[in-house]
């Protein structure tokens, strides 16, 4: 009889993790940056702008924008899992993991901040996808920002708050939070701030204002992959604005240039580009083209909840226009199931 030894390791893992948090002596944290490298040491200082990590006597500073995640010594097991789920966009699973944690057992302030951040972030993202109340999520994110002023997640939290404000149809608030990102020490984040402010105008169909801001981003001499990415997103946004301003052909041309250089593994980018293509096709009355564009997002890039919900919403309206009302019903059903607050 050859039974898997996995359950035993599982047992052991659980047993050991029960007390691991209480006995952290010399901290050994590990920071993963956006270049794919990781550094171990003790996280000695955190602020909205970044993190200092020390190994031996040498401190190293990282800007918040350059950090992917930090694994802290003493992390409760479910927090480690939840962090990965959040990074992977699996917010419900992340919340399931976080619910297993008794916050009172958390020993370090940085871990407490991380725990609360991932909690409000996952809730916020689900809210954006219509799967949790947006106002409650916004309140929670605001609570996080108020309490953990020294968290390196602060700008991400502000961005999320902006997204939520926008989703709650409160563009003025959204602008406020997006503007806050300008205070970051990272040029990438400052540029993203302009892009996000522009997207508020896109959402409000203020074509000229949006294009003016987006051009500011597009015309920059990009120096980092992040900025290049933001520029591509800005172009997608501009394509939508052009379509809104009666220049759909120009928008379509712009979006096709993006598709020509598309990196399909960047699903957020791809989803926004195809939604922009959909908007451009709709503007010129090509419903079949629009359906195909939104189907790209629906069938290939559904991991971006807000963009996926947008695409489904459009499909609900467009399928009947191409003679497939039953598929509109399917799209509606999917929308209701996956994003109950989106309709």
């Amino acid at each position: 009889m050859n039974f898997s030894s996995k359950p035993i390791f599982h047992c052991f893992g659980i047993a050991v993790s029960l007390w691991a948090g209480s006995f952290a002596i010399a901290q050994s944290d590990r920071l993963y940056d956006t270049s794919g490298k990781n550094v171990s040491g003790a996280v000695t200082q955190t602020s909205a702008k970044g993190v200092q990590i020390k190994r031996g006597a040498t401190p190293q500073n990282f800007l918040s924008a350059d950090i992917v995640k930090i694994l802290y010594e003493g992390d409760p097991g479910p927090l480690t899992q939840a962090r990965e789920f959040v990074i992977d966009g699996q917010y419900e699973q992340a919340l399931d993991e976080l619910k297993k944690i008794d916050p009172k057992t958390i020993q370090r302030d940085v871990i407490e901040a991380d725990y609360n951040y991932y909690m409000v972030y996952a809730q916020g993202k689900l809210a954006l996808a219509g799967r949790q109340p947006k106002d409650v999520a916004a309140k929670n994110v605001l609570g996080f920002i108020g309490k953990y002023r020294e968290s390196w997640h602060l700008f991400d939290a502000a961005k999320l708050l902006g997204d939520l404000a926008l989703a709650l149809n409160n563009p003025a608030e959204a602008l406020k939070y997006y503007k806050y990102l300008e205070q970051s020490s990272s040029a990438d984040t400052k540029i993203e701030s302009v892009y996000l402010q522009a997207m508020v105008s896109v959402k409000q169909k203020q074509g000229e204002a949006a294009i003016a801001l987006l051009d500011r981003v597009i015309d920059l001499k990009a120096q980092t992959p992040q900025t290049i990415r933001t520029q591509a997103l800005a172009k997608a946004g501009k394509a939508v604005s052009l379509a809104q301003s009666g220049k759909a052909d120009e928008g379509l041309k712009l979006v096709n240039s993006l598709i020509d250089e598309l990196n399909p593994s960047d699903i957020e980018m791809a989803a926004r580009i195809y939604n922009a293509q959909g908007a451009a096709y709709e503007a010129i009355g090509d419903n079949e083209g629009a359906v195909l564009a939104y189907l790209h997002t629906h069938l290939m890039f559904s991991g971006v909840p807000d963009a996926h919900a947008d695409a489904l919403l459009r499909l609900v309206e467009l399928w009947p226009a191409v003679g497939k009302p039953e598929r509109a019903a399917e799209a509606r059903q999917e929308l209701q199931q996956r994003y109950p607050g989106a309709l």
Binding site: S4, A15, D109, L292
Partner: protein, 1014 residues
């Protein structure tokens, strides 16, 4: 027994063919994204998978509109359309529509093949051949009433298969030629990667075509009602091809899979031994995804052949089938071939259940149960196997499988340790599933039932394991036994049966000393004991058990990374119980390690706390002793830090050591500790930074104290020290940021001022005078150079504290140094008020208090009046105002004193609504009497009620007033005999004696407190 051909025939729609179709003409699995540009291939695959076939065709028609599409993909649009039509046909339930789709597919394929030399030509032919097979298989599908196809349909199907075979043969011949040519060309993959890729594609297509050519013949033979007889030639041709494939190309999936097809052909030709050999060889091929399906079919073949033996060889059948079913992967749990195997395996169990020879009744029952469970599980998955499974269940007397629940092992006695462990693992996994379901249910309905089920499952697992463990003997595999013990310990732990978990875990630790497994047992025991101790911290038996476990662990695993944790636990238990000497002994017995250093520091902090508590309790001797011990432990713990590994904790411990040195007037040691390169708080804070505002203020406050103390040292350079102090103040101010920085800074300054006062209170008289002088110089210098409101406030508050510290307890009006200090305070508060109209009420309060202490009672009342109009409930201001009236009365001529005492007692300064703004002691005592948190204020105000009335009566020579003041004391003493504590009681007692003396009564004071019964 003849081979049961029926079992080999397609059950309904030709499942074998469909399986092969999935290989040959099924849409490719979602193609991975590759390169930039429109991801046409992937999107098309997704459209097909979503059954949006018409949209997929539309997309292919519009493909020219999309930038960046692979040019090769664009040239194969016809082939892609054909694939789309084939997929549409496959899912279509309408036979007319299906035929239309198949015709469209044929048209597209024909058109594509006419294009000539496209690299995907052989792929297109393969699709065409498989399309022919698919159409043939359609003809063999039983009618909706379940009738088997008639002879005409069988013939038509056979012809379809034969056409397909011809198509595949053509592909084989064509590719054989091409591959020969390529072989002659000696293609170098490095130099000519494209040609090498093409060659690999041809090889793959060649093998696929060869395999399908054999399969088409096999299926053609199976269109006969007796394939072995009427289709013998076809079977033999197929067999020849499968043998060729399986012998020459068994390194490739089609070659390996041919082993299974070879077995089927041999089985149909009644070649039992060779068929069994082929099936077994199939099972022995590598365990890769591409071969899994063929393995399931081969295992089914083995079961058929084994059960067809006389007597049936059911054990061979079970052995071969069970391992595959047990190892089913999540994506295989609904696979038709796997489900068929499950049904076949059930047959083997049921045959076994009927063989009563050499088997106990319990074994027979278990076999039947296994068979039944397999059938129930299989019947819940849709597919061709369901009809057979349902029929078999009906034969067992189970009419509706949906009502049956798959059974888990029961609490029956296990056969062996092995058996017990296996069952427990199964139960454990089931319990984990239930736990996950509970978690997902998130408190919804049904959770209670699930929780009950969870507890029961865990309980059964524990019972089964417990019984299994009693069967351990000398032949038992030790690893298995220990695994079982560990699982039992963990299950008990999960079940919160901590005592039992402790026993099993400890036993495991002791039976597997020095091993990792033993340590796991020790950890479970340790965690269990900790849980028990949480419930009952003073249980000496548990503490003793934990200590024994720790001692054992330390002895057996001296170098294990978990060992110091055990030691630390014991020390922490001792510290929680204030057994400082025990803790010290334990720590000193530990080997040098970061944990030991940490524990020295921890002990030091506990001792420091103890010194504070004993000082508050008035036991200065004990306090001093604890301080000394704390210093020693903290110093040892800090010195033992290796390298530059000091962290937040060490920094905080070092700061406490600095404070201890300051209290002992050890300025040099305090300075050295504060600035120690390794652990000095100033140095560590510079290195690591501090995010804890309370600690930051504590650090700067201590630094300031130290600098001021340094100023008291002979020969100190006051200017330099003041310069340093100014820098510290700047740092503190800079460290507090944010919108409410000034409020938070004010709170920190207030805390610092109180710290200084506390230090002064504990200093001896000589040191106190020197310190006050030093502080005064320091504060005046800072005050002269700053306009910062928060700093001015801090100076005012600190000077106030210095003044009060330099007054004698009985003094009501400051004089000398204290008066000078108060003058500075009043001036500072005045400057603050002049700078801003928006100063906080606490500044006005402090100013009023300073004025009172200086004897400017009118000024004090005028300052306090507006505060109380704005905030009547500010109790400390109310008390301050009442005290101002009381003390003012004391210096007024008798004719005015009465009014002042009355105001102190009954309040004064009515507002527009005739309500008194200043409440007086009477109202204060009334309002504070019912609130426990104001108890000190209540007794203080009651004391002043009595005092005021007595002094009022004395000043106005009104004896009734004096007599009444007796009642003020005795009434409250009757209600609260302890009168708020010994000090307060002493004050009441002294006042009563004074009153009694004034009245000419016997001076008895308060009656003694009743001694509580012992």
């Amino acid at each position: 027994m003849p081979i049961r051909h029926a079992a080999l025939r397609p059950k309904s729609s030709g499942s074998l063919v469909l399986v092969l179709m999935a290989i040959a003409i099924g849409s490719a699995a979602a193609a991975p994204f590759s390169g930039a540009g429109e991801p046409a291939e992937t999107f098309l695959t997704r459209l097909r998978a979503a059954n949006y076939f018409d949209t997929a065709i539309l997309y292919l028609d519009r493909i020219g509109n999309y930038p960046g599409v692979d040019p090769e993909f664009k040239t194969a649009i016809g082939l892609e359309k054909a694939q789309t039509y084939i997929d549409a046909a496959r899912v279509s339930r309408n036979s007319a529509a299906r035929n239309t789709f198949l015709e469209d597919a044929s048209t597209e394929l024909d058109a594509f093949l006419k294009l000539g030399s496209h690299p995907r030509q052989s792929e297109a032919r393969l699709k065409l051949g498989t399309l022919q097979m698919f159409r043939a298989a359609q003809l063999m599908v039983p009618s909706s009433k379940g009738d088997a196809p008639d002879d005409a349909k069988r013939k038509e199907a056979r012809e379809g298969y034969e056409s397909a075979a011809a198509t595949f043969d053509k592909i084989v011949e064509n590719l054989r030629e091409k591959l020969k040519e390529m072989q002659g060309a000696n293609i170098d993959a490095k130099k000519n990667p494209q040609q090498a890729t093409q060659r690999d594609q041809y090889r793959g297509d060649f093998l696929q075509a060869l395999s399908m050519a054999g399969e088409a013949r096999l299926q053609a033979a199976k269109t006969f009602t007796d394939p072995g007889k009427d289709g013998k030639q076809g079977l033999e041709d197929a067999l020849k091809m499968f043998v060729d494939l399986s012998e020459k190309y068994d390194d490739f999936p089609p070659g390996a899979i041919a082993l299974m097809s070879r077995g089927v052909a041999q089985e149909l030709l009644a070649q039992k031994e060779p068929a069994l050999d082929s099936y077994i060889r199939m099972l022995e091929t590598p365990d890769i995804d591409a071969l899994r399906d063929a393995k399931f079919q081969a295992a089914s073949g083995i079961i058929r052949l084994s059960l067809a033996e006389t007597p049936p060889k059911y054990q061979l059948a079970i052995d071969r089938g069970k391992s595959l079913i047990d190892g089913l992967r999540p994506n295989e749990r609904r696979a038709p071939t796997a489900m068929q195997l499950q049904v076949d395996l059930a047959k083997a169990y049921l045959v076994k259940a009927k063989d009563s020879k050499d088997q106990k009744p319990a074994d027979l029952k278990r076999s039947e149960s296994e068979g039944r469970q397999l059938l129930i599980k299989a019947s819940k998955v849709e597919g061709d196997h369901v009809a057979e499974a349902t029929k078999m269940l009906a034969d067992l007397g189970i009419e509706s499988s949906t009502e049956e629940v798959a059974e888990l092992p029961t609490a029956e006695d296990p056969d062996s340790v092995d058996d017990a462990y296996a069952k427990a693992i199964e139960l454990y996994q089931a319990s984990e599933n239930i736990a996950q379901t509970i978690s997902a249910a998130n408190g919804k309905e049904g959770v209670a039932e699930l929780e009950k089920q969870l507890a029961e499952t865990r309980s059964i697992a524990s019972r089964v394991l417990s019984r299994g463990l009693t069967m351990i003997n000398t032949k038992t595999d030790i690893e298995l036994a220990n695994n079982a013990r560990q699982l039992l310990a963990f299950l008990l732990y999960q079940d919160q049966r901590f005592r039992d978990a402790t026993v099993v875990g400890s036993f495991l630790a002791k039976t597997a000393p020095g091993s990792e497994m033993g340590m796991k047992g020790g950890l479970i025991a340790r965690n269990s004991l900790q849980n028990l101790l949480i419930q009952n911290t003073s249980n000496t038996r548990l503490v003793s058990q934990l200590k024994d476990l720790a001692d054992y662990t330390i002895r057996v695993w001296p170098d294990h990374p978990e060992t110091p944790i055990f030691q630390r636990l014991i020390v922490e238990l001792a510290l929680q119980d204030d057994r400082f000497d025990d803790a010290r002994t334990l720590i000193n017995a530990m080997a040098d390690s970061p944990t030991r250093a940490l524990l020295h520091r921890k002990l030091g902090l506990f001792l420091y706390q103890q010194s504070v508590q004993t000082r508050i309790a008035g036991d200065d001797g004990a306090s001093e002793k604890f301080q000394k011990e704390a210093k020693a432990e903290l110093q040892t713990g800090l010195d033992a830090i290796s390298g530059a590994l000091s962290d937040d904790e060490a920094m905080k411990a070092a700061l406490v050591l600095v404070k201890l040195h300051l209290r002992a007037d050890e300025v040099d040691q305090a300075t050295k500790t504060l600035n120690n390169d390794k652990y000095g708080p100033t140095k560590v804070a510079e290195r690591l930074g501090t995010s804890d505002e309370a600690f930051t203020s504590d650090l700067y406050s201590t630094q300031l104290n130290l600098l001021v103390q340094q100023m008291t040292q002979p020969g100190s350079n006051t200017d330099e020290l003041i310069g340093q102090a100014s820098e510290v103040m700047d740092k503190l101010r800079d460290s507090i940021k944010g919108e409410d920085a000034s409020t938070r800074l004010s709170a920190i300054y207030l805390r610092m001022a109180r710290d200084i006062r506390e230090q002064l209170d504990t200093a001896n008289a000589n040191q106190k005078t020197k310190l006050i002088q030093a502080f005064r110089v320091f504060l005046e210098r800072i005050a002269a150079t700053t306009e910062d409101p928060a700093t001015l406030q801090w100076i005012g508050q600190t000077v106030m504290q210095l003044a009060e510290a330099s007054m004698e307890p009985t003094e009501t009006k400051a004089s000398g140094q204290a008066a000078e200090l108060l003058g500075t305070a009043v001036e500072t508060f005045g400057r603050l008020k002049a700078k801003s109209k928006d100063v906080s009420l606490s500044v006005d309060f402090q100013l009023g208090r300073a004025q009172r202490l200086m004897g400017d009672y009118k000024g004090a009342l005028d300052t306090l009046d507006p505060i109380l109009r704005q905030k009547p409930n500010m109790l400390n201001a109310q008390m301050e105002a009442s005290l101002a009236y009381e003390q003012w009365a004391g210096i007024l001529p008798p004719k005015y004193a009465g009014n002042a005492y009355e105001s102190a007692l009954n309040g004064a300064r009515p507002d527009a609504a005739k309500k008194k703004v200043i409440w007086g002691w009477g109202k204060i005592s009334q309002l504070t009497s019912s609130n426990e948190s104001f108890r000190d204020m209540f007794f203080e105000s009651r004391y002043h009620v009595a005092l005021c009335r007595f002094l009022w009566g004395k000043a106005t020579k009104e004896t009734p007033l004096i007599e009444k003041s007796v009642g003020d004391i005795t009434k409250v003493a009757a209600l609260y005999p302890e009168l708020g504590g010994p000090e307060q009681r002493k004050k009441f007692d002294q006042l009563l004696r004074l009153i009694q003396k004034e009245l000419g009564q016997k001076v008895e004071g308060l009656p003694p407190l009743a001694v509580p019964p012992t």
